[in-house]
Symmetry: C2
Subunit: 332 residues, 2 copies
């Protein structure tokens, strides 16, 4: 049996295309290397991967010549570690490959495949669902009756934010780029109003119409021109959670936009950057609530699984083109 790995061969300051990667067959990893060997069952395709491949400053980066970084679920097939037995399931930094040698420090949490399906552990209970729960609760100060705007309402994070906000009595207003996603987010993801930014005409008017009392909380996964419009409509004491910048294709050099200093001051806004892995100490608490919501049917998520690592190199483009129907995963 051989390993298959997707290697990074070229950095990229725009959206990474297939030529940034190369599929390589390799020997199986050895347990002596890092203490654990897992068979990789699912990996993800994330908007954040663009940042990992860029040459810019980032909170995470993947060097050329390494296997592509990815969170995923693995089943332990060899272990030198007393806490991990053969057959255990884990979620961690497994990479885009069939088998992975792992250090326990790269394991984020234990997965119970019997309580909740593995795809849900990669989505609502994984880093995207955790981003929604922890961003909203730790930085958002959500209050019943408030209006929350989410920039990618049908995305992996936004779809969970809408449902959690709705469950807390907020009015979620979502933005997305196709009528189909608008319809999906309204029907399944808790959004009271949806705006298709590609077909709304004057987006500022469309947002004002959907948020007649102004905006209390902006869960910003997009940045750029759409975020500028939302900022203008934030209320005094409004909050912004910056958890992605998906609408801006390159930050080298940083693009220009209207300065926000005056709005920050006049409206006493609070704008916070959020990276979920800073908050690992809160994962279990968040997962307990998320799992309960999944089990009672009040948290719906969708997953789109690509079969085979050969689909990995073009998958980031697929994500940015909006061709996926739900959280994009790969089964190696």
């Amino acid at each position: 049996m051989r390993n298959r790995r997707v290697m990074v061969v070229k950095r990229c300051d725009a959206i990474p295309a297939a030529d940034s990667f190369e599929n390589v067959d390799d020997d199986l990893p050895l347990c002596e290397e890092l203490g654990l060997v897992v068979e990789v069952l699912l990996v993800s395709v994330d908007p954040a991967m663009r940042g990992w491949l860029s040459s810019e400053v980032n909170y995470q980066t993947v060097p050329t010549g390494s296997v592509m970084n990815s969170y995923g679920i693995g089943r332990v097939i060899e272990s030198d570690h007393p806490e991990w037995n053969i057959g255990d399931y884990l979620y961690g930094n497994v990479g885009w490959q069939k088998f992975s040698a792992m250090d326990v420090k790269d394991v984020w949490f234990r997965v119970d495949p019997d309580s909740i399906p593995l795809e849900k552990w990669m989505n609502a209970l994984g880093l995207t669902g955790l981003t929604a729960w922890l961003g909203l609760n730790l930085l958002g100060s959500p209050r019943a009756g408030e209006t929350i705007v989410v920039g990618t309402a049908a995305g992996a994070v936004g779809s969970v934010v809408g449902q959690l906000a709705r469950a807390r009595g907020m009015r979620p207003v979502g933005i997305t780029g196709t009528p189909k996603k608008c319809e999906l987010a309204s029907r399944e993801f808790g959004y009271e109003k949806m705006i298709n930014y590609r077909a709304s005409g004057d987006l500022s008017l469309a947002i004002a119409d959907a948020c007649p009392d102004g905006i209390d909380l902006f869960f910003d996964t997009v940045g750029g021109a759409i975020a500028d419009i939302v900022f203008e409509q934030l209320k005094v004491a409004g909050r912004v959670i910056q958890c992605g910048t998906a609408s801006v294709s390159t930050w080298v050099p940083p693009p220009i936009g209207p300065r926000r200093e005056r709005l920050m001051l006049v409206k006493r806004l609070r704008w916070s950057g959020f990276v979920v892995t800073d908050h690992a100490d809160r994962f279990v608490e968040a997962q307990a609530e998320l799992a309960a919501l999944i089990r009672d049917g009040s948290l719906i998520t969708r997953e789109h699984v690509l079969e085979g690592l050969e689909q990995a190199p073009s998958s980031i483009q697929m994500l940015y083109e909006g061709l996926n129907q739900g959280r994009l995963l790969i089964r190696p």
Copy 2:
């Protein structure tokens, strides 16, 4: 005896000049009007006044045909209010005038002229000193050993921020625009390093040199291009307090600058807008510490008093031209 009042006669989207105002002689106000009449002893000249006269959205505005808004100290000469006696001193929205009819809701706090001189009540114990103390402590999460950068280190707010930060064991680094102010801020206001942005050459290098470990906290009173450079050098988990935008002369339309979304995210920054009057419930606590520091000589402030209201119309320009030596006040 007649009143003298400085009326707003023209709105202004840049720095207000003398022609925005008109000195008018008028009858003395009547106690029946609002319940209190005070003789105005000191008023202030604040950077924020530019915003009050602009046609843009702001947290406070002064309509044309009204007396110019200003905080100041008044001595009660008539009172219909049981809590205020003739001879009491107060700090509140007295306006640029010799006598002011006041509603008790426009009184911010009681002044004790015997404990601390009136000029200090207009400075360290007034809204500027309170801005320094409350901004730093409520939004800044100051920690010993951290580096704090202040955009107008020799100004009314910045001079207090430097000393408070130093007293908390932080490393204050200040920016200002003249060698004289650099020298003053180093000698009197607690700054460990001072940068003259007009003479520093490459400001980015000068800041990096003064902050070799990066910047933890930015007390931003300026905004604009200087703030862009500071943002680039903020550390992960850095905080920004936006308490002014003095470097930008007009916000109609908002000027453009490099987008900050990516820095907010990658460095998990927290950027908060701060307006001191939101925090009146904390004034007494802040003043107690500020007064103790003044009395024991560890908090030094400077005041620059203009004699006579005829100097008021040109005083905002004087402030923005940096011609004042300390907090700019007017004795009507």
